[in-house]
Symmetry: C2
Subunit: 214 residues, 2 copies
């Protein structure tokens, strides 16, 4: 299928469609109408039809959507039919949480190695993946295909390491450090800023409630 440029809002919704369809698949649901899907996802049925029309529809009048087919096709659009080699930089709790999340592999993301600066962590293994010294990282990246680096390290270290990674040819950075990375446009950065997410929650809470001034 040919890919065309689609809006950021649609792209943001696709992973959610993929997750819902995956849940339906697990329950052996074979087909679903846009109305049913809309009720589950709390999105209007017309929004769903409109979103999926961006990719040529997939639905059939009077039948609805074939769940497995739609799941597979959205997976392809999301690039999940590929395998990605992932390294994690920073073997703290968050890095370990990512390394332990076997579900990523089901979607094609394989954690190949973990790097840390702390000599007490180097040599340990998480789910069979060895923690290596950050001094070995450059050589590792040059000798191995690495598609994505997850940065789970302090913000003071992240910009320099990210710029090294870009120089060594890493194309995708999944950034958990609470700082923005300004890299060449060839490097794709996806940020997960936990503190900012918590602030959004606090904004909404303080709009709606007055928390106790304890």
């Amino acid at each position: 299928m040919e890919k065309k440029q689609i809006s950021k809002a649609v792209i943001n919704r696709l992973p959610r469609y993929y997750r819902y369809l995956g849940d339906l698949l697990e329950k052996d649901v074979v087909r679903i109408s846009s109305k049913e899907l809309s009720e589950r996802m709390k999105v209007t049925a017309s929004q769903i039809r409109q979103d999926l029309n961006n990719f040529g529809g997939f639905g059939q009048q009077g039948y609805g959507y074939n769940v497995e087919y739609l799941h597979t096709e959205i997976g392809k659009i999301l690039g999940l039919d590929k395998r990605y080699s992932l390294i994690i930089i920073g073997a703290g709790n968050l890095g370990q949480a990512l390394a332990n999340y076997a579900d990523f592999e089901r979607r094609g993301f394989y954690v190949r190695s973990i790097f840390d600066i702390n000599p007490r962590l180097v040599g340990l293994s998480i789910r069979g993946i060895e923690i290596k010294s950050i001094d070995e990282m450059e050589e590792y990246i040059k000798m191995n295909q690495v598609d994505i680096a997850a940065l789970t390290l302090p913000k003071s270290k992240a910009p320099q390491i990210a710029s090294d990674l870009a120089r060594w040819g890493i194309k995708g950075i999944w950034n958990f450090a609470p700082t923005d990375l300004h890299l060449h446009e060839n490097v794709i950065v996806e940020n997960v800023h936990l503190a900012e997410s918590l602030m959004k929650l606090s904004y909404k809470l303080s709009e709606k409630y007055k928390p106790a001034d304890n």
Copy 2:
């Protein structure tokens, strides 16, 4: 200051302003023009002026913004002048990562307790915070002021626990379980769906590059 209804897009940008201003404060920067702030944040200066005008401006012609004042005022808008009591449900790596993140406290979020179903974890402490059995959670919530519950548990368990939490009066849920929670509108849910973030990265990578089919 009176709060008025502001757009979701502006709210999404506020935590980022707050973070940048905090970084400037740490560097003892006293004032900044919208032009300088714009260059740092890669947002247009007019966007910044427009966003901040939602809250009555804060800037002065020819002077720029007073960093500390602006930081404090945006903090108030975000509700960060309040203290929030937070519990973490699920003491796996991700729950431990959140419990270990002392930076949250600087912003007024205090982790009071951690709950888990695993008897081998119950009784252990993370940064002085004891892991309690999930069986004790109802009583704990009824006896203590708890504003926010962070859910770092499997998706199979999350909906039931979230609905219990809502019934017991929790107003804010920071949800890391890869599932949507459908709760009463009085409960504010902020989702961090890591797998979806990774899929967005993979979408952008596969748009721009063809990863090796290894």
